[in-house]
């Protein structure tokens, strides 16, 4: 790993946790990502904004390799994702090694994707037991703690179908946290929720950010972005249009595309 890092000048020593350079991705000749650069420092919260089809979700999925990238490089905590670099030549990692890289990254999906045949606590304890080989008892105790932390300590034995959308998403966050990830990815975590359930999920995410978790959040929740994000990245058409502190990007956008998007989003919020 050190040899690889030395051979790759684009990888500085005091690295950010996530370091993405010139990431490209196409689906059937349709270029979805056209060279994305993004650095996320430890403890930072980055919100990805942009119209649908701008590539934000794809980029998020590329970070933990649910999609393979066509070009560019992504490092998470100094590890090149999906490949190993030996003397300037890239070798694809085996599925097992990719799975090991994913363990460091938690992901929360728009549609929760809880395991419907398992109770809340089984959902949370599943990966520690099955992936990290923890024994049942401590894993369940920790799962209980995590469910307490997201405010669902009393719903341990409920199946996902017996929980509201907001509760399911909070269980999903607890499930991702159970692997003690360095980085949390949120893919529109509140978009599938009824409006009155959005707040409880955002509150959990806010606490997580305050506890110093590094987070990349694809969202349309402007208020959350304004209050919690350290950096807001506005994407459109597969490129980063502008990025910076929320007060700059949201308060004083420099690009016409950003302005148009923000205006449209605001009017949608005022007249739903």
């Amino acid at each position: 790993m050190t040899a690889a890092a030395a051979a790759e000048p684009a990888e500085p020593l005091a690295q950010p946790l996530v370091h993405a350079v010139n990431v490209t991705k196409s689906f059937h000749h349709n270029e979805v990502l056209k060279g994305i650069d993004l650095d996320v420092d430890r403890g930072q919260v980055v919100c990805l904004l942009g119209p649908s089809g701008s590539g934000k979700t794809t980029f998020l999925r590329c970070i933990n390799q649910l999609e393979t990238i066509d070009g560019g490089r992504i490092w998470v905590d100094g590890d090149l994702m999906g490949y190993v670099d030996r003397d300037g030549k890239l070798y694809r990692l085996k599925n097992k090694e990719i799975a090991a890289q994913r363990r460091e990254i938690g992901m929360v999906f728009q549609r929760f994707n809880l395991f419907p045949h398992k109770t809340a606590i089984e959902n949370v304890a599943e990966a520690p037991i099955q992936v990290r080989g923890e024994s049942r008892k401590p894993a369940r105790a920790r799962a209980q703690e995590l469910l307490d932390r997201v405010g669902l300590g009393d719903r341990c034995t409920s199946y996902p179908a017996q929980l509201s959308g907001g509760q399911q998403q909070r269980v999903a966050i607890a499930r991702a946290l159970a692997m003690q990830p360095k980085l949390m990815l949120f893919d529109e975590p509140t978009s599938a929720l009824d409006p009155e359930l959005v707040g409880e999920v955002l509150a959990v995410m806010r606490e997580l950010a305050e506890d110093g978790m590094t987070m990349i959040v694809v969202t349309h929740e402007m208020e959350f972005a304004r209050e919690v994000a350290d950096t807001v990245v506005f994407m459109d058409g597969g490129v980063v249009v502008e990025s910076g502190p929320p007060r700059d990007v949201l308060g004083n956008p420099q690009h016409q595309r950003t302005k148009t998007f923000l205006t449209r989003l605001r009017s949608a919020h005022e007249h739903p």
Partner: protein, 322 residues
């Protein structure tokens, strides 16, 4: 809403409509149907009780013979269970192969399914019983390196590279041949059922499991297959019931310790064929009924977490089974 209240005529509480006591719709058709069916049932009971050809004493005596009971327990129940174990395990493996990225595995699974679905079970079982001829003149079924004698000759060595010698007279006769034949045929059908079940699981489930760092084997075993079972179990119940009945084809191997063969031999001894058919029917009815109960419990087990009923919600923490 408020305008509704305003336009509604002001009335005292007594005038407000209360509980509905309406005359229900009459269903004269039901009474006609009941009458017709009652007559038909009475006719059937009359037939069953009075017709001497049933010879109920003989039916129950025949059912009680030790060879018949053995035929039912071994030839029918045991062979059904063993064939279905071979079929379900084989079918799930074939389905996973068929859906894998590896084109060789997927091709092999397709060819297997194609071949064993193409052969009628009766003929397959007959063939299983005759396969021994392939190994008759070469000292049994040898398993080892193919063309070993040629390779050994070429390398200038001596001896052979065969590790396992099986007696074809044990494998390609009787119940073992029957179980292999029925099991392979069943695996071909189960492969399609299992494939449909696996494809029915939302892609997000596998993604969520992958994102947690699970290996692809774990994703399949822990997340996808348990959910696929919900779709796989009902048709598998069908297959099991069909298998129960297909054990009567064991006669083609031939397996003589089979239920219907044993019943028939009693029937031909006493020149009574119809009561034998009744006896066989009763055995198959009983066995199928038991299987249907089993299927109910399996469906309930794999359906957990789906649907609206909450049978386990009241369980204490930690008691939820995996």
């Amino acid at each position: 809403m408020s305008s509704d209240n305003e336009t509604r005529p002001a009335a005292s509480a007594d005038d407000r409509p209360g509980a509905i006591k309406a005359v229900p719709v009459r269903h004269p058709g039901r009474w006609v149907a009941i009458a017709i069916i009652a007559v038909l049932v009475a006719m059937l009971v009359h037939l069953l009780l009075t017709n001497k050809a049933f010879d109920w004493d003989f039916v129950f005596q025949a059912m009680n013979q030790q060879p018949v009971i053995n035929g039912f327990l071994k030839g029918t129940l045991l062979v059904t269970v063993l064939s279905m174990v071979v079929g379900v395990v084989g079918g799930v493996i074939l389905a996973v192969m068929r859906l894998s990225d590896n084109p060789i595995l997927s091709g092999v699974a397709w060819v297997f399914t194609w071949f064993f679905r193409a052969i009628p079970r009766y003929i397959l079982l007959f063939t299983m019983g005759t396969l021994g001829i392939l190994f008759k003149d070469i000292g049994g079924l040898n398993i080892g390196v193919p063309f070993d004698w040629k390779i050994i000759e070429w390398l200038g060595l001596s001896g052979d590279w065969r590790f396992l010698n099986l007696d074809p007279n044990q494998i390609f006769t009787g119940m073992i041949a029957g179980v292999i034949g029925l099991g392979l045929s069943e695996a071909a059908y189960m492969a399609e059922i299992a494939r449909a079940g696996i494809l029915s699981v939302d892609k997000g489930q596998a993604e969520a499991a992958q994102a947690l760092g699970m290996s692809s084997g774990k994703v399949m075993r822990r997340v996808v297959l348990p959910q696929a079972m919900r779709v796989i179990v009902p048709p598998t119940g069908n297959e099991t019931i069909a298998m129960l009945k297909d054990t009567s084809l064991l006669l083609a191997v031939p397996v003589l310790g089979e239920l219907f063969y044993q019943l028939q031999s009693i029937g031909s001894t006493y020149y009574k064929t119809f009561p034998i058919a009744v006896a066989a029917t009763l055995y198959y009815l009983a066995a199928t009924s038991v299987l249907m109960v089993g299927q109910y419990f399996l469906e309930r087990h794999f359906g957990r977490g789906f649907g609206t009923q909450a049978p386990r919600a009241a369980r204490p923490a930690g008691a939820g089974g995996a």
